[in-house]
Amino acid sequence: MTERKNRGEDNPRARIRRKRAIAIIAIILALAAIVFICIFAGYGGPIGPSDQGRYITFQTAVDILLGKNPPNSDYAVRIIWDVRMPRVAMAAFVGAALAAAGTAMQAVFRNSMADPFIIGVSSGAAVGAAAVSLMGVGATISLIAQPSLAFIGAVVTVFAVYKLGTAKGKVYVDTLLLSGVAVAAFLGALVSLMLYISGQNYYKLGYWLMGSLTLSSWLWVGVIVLPVILGTVIIFLYGRELNVLLLGEETAHNLGANPEFLKKIMLAVAAIMTGVAVAFVGIIGFVGLMIPHMMRLVVGPDHRVLVPAATLGGAMFLIATDTLSRSFIELPVGIITAMLGGPFFLFLLRQRRIRGGRQ
């Protein structure tokens, strides 16, 4: 009893800060390690088999990363700088966007089952992407048209869902949630219909729907980097408000936060950052749902540390799963995230039940 009291007497704030600092540093180190491993991994080595007789040695890879291009290393430079690096960077930004937006949506909806797609981003983007397939434009045009239309589809859908869940300038999160589900079901049917009609482009669209980073380029990275970084920073800056929003809108208001403004800005930020990510890489499920949960177990529920942790964790997770997906046969990464994510999520749910935790 006295021991408990003594623990209570020292400064709890210092203790909390220490724990958080350690957790964030550990996550950053793990992310750095994974980035390096994943740049080194793949066909052609240094981690992995040789590619039609060509093999990058460990020394060459390190030299290339340090900017010293050894002689006769054109192949290695191209693989590392133009194939793997943009792909790792794209995975990092998409993973970060999904996880950060998922964290924000779970707070706004006060529902741990919420994810960034709950407000119709994915279904809207799918309609845009499917429309391009249906039009049957050439490969070059579709390279630009698909992400553009997907992004437009996402933003228009989110706006419609938002309007359906709003009355007199007030956002009703439960109505919003149901509107999102209903709109997604409707648009899902529309996508299926277009898939059915589109015939020869079926394969390409299917690949997009399953989520894939195969075509990543520096151009893609260039487009998404700004919205993702800005969005994450905005969500992070509102961390304290997101904390109190979890306690209910009345309490949030009483603690000086403006719940209406907060809900609107979070919805807008999440829609734009995930919309732009999904437009390029397709629908990658489970990252936005799962990573915030995992990170909550590691660093606790305070958004001022949860948002950075989830952002880094999302990046780490998608880099790792994408590397897995390209290491064997080129699988859409969405399949891997769902196959890993589903069981893992069930495991978490069961754990909580067994520990006598809350639903």
Binding site: L237, E250, G300, P301
Partner: protein, 418 residues
């Protein structure tokens, strides 16, 4: 610091929820907002803290309208304790209380400083929640959680504490714990405005009551002034008896029934009682439609008070005196006018032995007599066996033995054909 609610009206769409409410609250007051469900209590609370904006009128704090203040100013003025707080996250009690410091943060990026830490510690000390520091909020009991939320409200360092039915989901221990805590805080100068449901709890702890009905302020004042049987009948549509709580002398309200189950048929039953033995019988008879009377009872006896509250005619004697001949005669007169006589289970001493003699007289006049628990006669005989003898006598001469109120009702109905 003084709050003036002036001509406040509020509507959800076309439904008027608050109608022209005017009310002043002084510094250091402990006010309960009360009224039936849907009377507008919680809406008024939300208008106070500027969560809802009134249609007309408004709230002034020291003559300054609340709606002209910034969110931060309001948050430093009012702290709110809701009915319950969600528990589907894993904040610790300490983190919950620390959230009360948000209105005091200098900027979005500034983290908690030493004064926040000491304010949190002080608030947790005052609410007895320091020992929960590292515990998860969700893992605490309902009462403990509510104390943590009150600690958060105190950490906000407010002038006024607003509570929305703070004890509604708590067991009796939790209720008293929270109310005692609030009284302590009020004693140290904090103004408290609480929506309350339990009339007895409110009158015991709150200095002032504002009673709302259908969006209007019906009554405002001390519990004694507000909780009259008339007010409660008018607003809650419940018949009550108002007493003083024997422990605290606060107003205590005992509900009767919303309406009579059986229409009154007016069959007259005289109950010989005293010492509290007649109360349940009298109210039971009224509920079953009878027109009971009682006697002979000393003034201030609890049977006397109950009979008065139920508007039952009662033959009385002055306190602590023996039943006089006058009272005895009046008692006999009541018996003659009645269709039946009930002898309740009262202790018999020299003072009220006449009540048993009156029962014997009733039998003599051919009235049906019902005797409650005749077998306990010996235990409550304080006149050397005379009482037991009289009761035995009653039974042997045809009085009906009954065990309890229900038994009495059944046998009365059989005998009188009701």
């Amino acid at each position: 610091m003084r709050i003036d609610i002036k001509g406040l009206s509020f509507a959800f769409g076309t439904t008027k929820v608050l109608k022209d409410i005017s009310l002043s609250i002084e510094k250091g007051e402990f006010l309960a907002l009360m009224g039936p469900n849907g009377s507008g209590k919680t809406t008024l609370l939300r208008c106070l803290m500027n969560y809802l904006t009134p249609e007309q009128g408004g709230v002034l704090v020291d003559a300054k309208p609340v709606h002209t203040m910034t969110d931060k100013e309001i948050a430093q003025l009012f702290a709110v304790v809701p009915q319950t707080s969600p528990t589907d996250f894993s904040f610790t009690a300490y983190e919950m209380v620390m959230m009360g410091r948000i209105p005091h943060a200098r900027s979005r990026l500034s983290s908690e400083n030493e004064s926040d830490v000491s304010a949190v510690r002080e608030a947790m000390k005052r609410t007895g929640t320091l020992e929960f520091t590292d515990r998860e909020f969700a893992g605490l009991s309902g009462g403990e959680r509510q104390r943590v939320i009150i600690a958060r409200a105190l950490a906000q360092d407010p002038e006024i504490l607003l509570l929305d039915e703070p004890t509604v989901y708590l067991d009796i221990t939790g209720q008293l714990e929270i109310m005692d805590l609030l009284r302590n805080l009020n004693g140290s100068g904090l103004t408290i405005i609480a929506v309350m449901h339990d009339i007895n709890l409110a009158s015991r702890y709150c200095g002032k009551i504002a009673l709302l009905h259908d969006g209007r302020l019906e009554s405002h004042g001390t519990p004694q002034e507000v909780f009259t049987p008339e007010n409660i009948m008018r607003i809650y549509d419940v018949e009550v008896i108002v007493r003083r709580d024997p422990l605290t002398h606060s107003v205590s309200v005992i509900p009767r029934a919303t309406s009579l189950i059986v229409p009154a048929h007016g069959t007259r039953v005289h109950v010989l009682c005293g010492g509290g033995s007649g109360g349940p019988l009298l109210s039971g008879l009224v509920d079953a439609g009878y027109a009971p009377s009682a006697g002979v009872v000393n003034v201030l006896d609890s049977d006397f008070e109950l009979a008065k509250d139920l508007h039952i005619p009662v033959v009385t004697e002055i306190p602590f005196a023996q039943v006089s001949d006058d009272a005895h005669l009046e008692n006999l007169k009541r018996i003659v006018e009645s269709d039946a006589v009930v002898v309740s289970e009262f202790p018999v001493g020299p003072g009220n032995l006449k009540n048993l003699e009156a029962a014997v007289a009733a039998l003599g006049k051919g009235k049906p007599v019902f005797v409650m628990n005749a077998e306990t006669a010996e235990k409550r005989d304080f006149v050397g066996g005379k009482a037991k003898q009289l009761i035995d006598d009653l039974i042997s001469r045809g009085a009906v033995k009954v065990n309890d109120k229900q038994d009495l009702m059944t046998k009365l109905a059989e005998r009188l054909g009701r």
